[in-house]
């Protein structure tokens, strides 16, 4: 598989969250995100409780996807230390948050991934693994599919398209074939098969600077084509909009499309999608234990609002569950068209 150096490794000007925020602020917009929310009667945007603890265990990944908002890759070294893993588990045990959503990087590369999953499932929580599929094909990680099945972990796997060249264009040459092999293995274990109780959802991001298609129509096509071409079955397809930050922002700049893409997102602002954005029911934990409104704010180094607990060790579900969300122009990425979240379209 072909991998590239991350922005951080390249010492690219857009490698840090502050630089990305500055670049976004330079792009002209007909109205700010706050104004758009105000027009829809949704400002300030306030959380409605915490249903998902989304834990980003590290930025190491075996792939370097062109659209990655984390700038993840093999050269990243940030990994959640054991005491922060414990703090996350402590929060799960001390609260009624029903879902642990584990992301990265490739979260399975974290040395305590299995421990985290085992403890969370013992606590009776629904556990989601955001899997890039190809990690399961690495020599030392062939244990992943069986381990996930044994612990009834919900797999949310990335696959931008049911054809090879689009998938490889976004995720790196050779990724599609390896992903198909991984999906076959998951299917063989029962994942995606009716009645198995083993949930396999796929995530698609557009392969370029445009909005994702209608989720239901795309799911029909994908089910038909993946089964016809590769004999693969899955449960649901989630369409996710590319977020104009990190590597996708760099890609947009390289193509001279940053201004047009942000304008497209802003023009497609949908109040119904804004009302259902995932940050209203999710809290995001970074590898170092800092808390954020979402994984995107985490990468932009946007902390929670003033006066709120900002570290997993200070977790206060009552205050965090009714916090005002920290906003920016990138938020148009979650409110365009049918909306976008880690669970796909929201409107």
């Amino acid at each position: 598989m072909r991998v590239l150096p991350t922005l951080q490794k390249q010492r690219h000007p857009l490698a840090g969250g502050a630089a990305q925020r500055r670049r976004l602020a330079e792009l002209p917009l007909a109205r700010s995100f706050e104004e758009a929310l105000e027009g829809a009667g949704l400002f300030p945007l306030v959380a409605k409780g915490i249903e998902v603890l989304q834990v980003n265990v590290g930025r190491k990944c075996n792939q370097t996807c062109r659209h990655c908002h984390v700038d993840a890759g093999p050269d990243r070294t940030e990994m959640m230390p054991p005491d922060v893993v414990e703090a996350c588990l402590h929060v799960l045990a001390a609260t009624a948050i029903p879902t642990l959503d584990i992301t990265g990087g490739a979260p399975e590369l974290h040395p305590e991934f299995r421990y985290l999953v085992e403890r969370a499932t013992t606590l009776g929580r629904r556990v989601i693994d955001r899997c890039n599929l190809t990690v399961t094909r690495l020599l030392n990680y062939r244990w992943i599919p069986r381990f996930l099945a044994e612990h009834r972990v919900e797999v949310t796997a990335s696959l931008p398209y049911y054809q090879g060249h689009q998938t490889d264009a976004q995720r790196g040459e050779g990724v599609f074939d390896e992903s198909i092999a991984a999906l076959r293995e998951l299917n063989a274990l029962g994942y995606g098969r009716p009645g198995s109780g083993l949930v396999l959802n796929l995530v698609t991001n557009p392969v370029g600077a445009f909005l994702p298609p209608d989720q239901r129509a795309a799911e029909r096509d994908w089910k038909r084509e993946l089964e016809r071409r590769h004999g693969i079955v899955f449960d649901r397809l989630f369409t996710i909009t590319n977020m104009p930050i990190s590597r996708f922002l760099e890609h947009l700049d390289e193509k001279g499309q940053a201004e047009a893409y942000l304008a497209r997102l802003q023009q497609a602002f949908n109040p119904a999608a804004a009302s259902g954005v995932m940050c209203r029911t999710t809290i995001s934990v970074a590898w170092d234990g800092t808390l954020h409104d979402c994984d995107f704010n985490q990468m932009l180094e946007l902390p929670l609002g003033e006066g709120l607990p900002r570290n997993i060790r200070e977790f206060d579900p009552a205050r965090l569950g009714r916090r005002s969300i920290v906003l920016g122009p990138h938020c148009f990425g979650c409110t365009a068209g049918a909306g976008s979240s880690c669970g796909g379209a929201v409107a």
């Binding site: 398209y161 557009p206 445009f210 298609p213 209608d214 129509a217 096509d221 304008a263």
Partner: protein, 112 residues
């Protein structure tokens, strides 16, 4: 504003300015246009592919940009979009060629 060329990509975003000359007609056009492209007996995806093909027939660069994006956002891929353009091109080529029957008719009238 650069007026040294006839077509500017940025002008597509100014389409609504056309409404200034005749607001009522513009509103009627918008309402009709939106209704045409709504999901109906044809899906929104099929309509976007038809629009892409027609855009090439009328050779409108604004329409080609707009409906290339629209087709992608409706879930069509490059293969499907290229086939749609070939359909337009085939009709366009065929429409020239079918006039050869007229040529043949005239040849017949003039010849022996």
């Amino acid at each position: 504003m650069d007026h040294s060329h006839y077509y500017h990509a940025a002008d597509l975003a100014r389409f609504a300015e056309v409404g200034k000359g005749a607001p009522e007609l513009w509103e009627k056009f918008r309402a009709w246009y939106d209704a045409v492209f709504a999901e109906g007996a044809l899906t929104a995806r099929e309509k976007a592919l038809v629009a892409l093909a027609v855009s090439h027939t009328v050779q409108c660069p604004y329409c080609i940009d707009a409906y290339t994006t629209a087709c992608l956002e409706q879930g069509s891929n490059e293969e499907q979009m290229t086939e749609a353009v070939h359909v337009a091109a085939a009709i366009r080529g065929g429409s020239s060629l079918v006039h050869a029957v007229q040529m043949r008719n005239h040849l017949e009238r003039l010849g022996m």
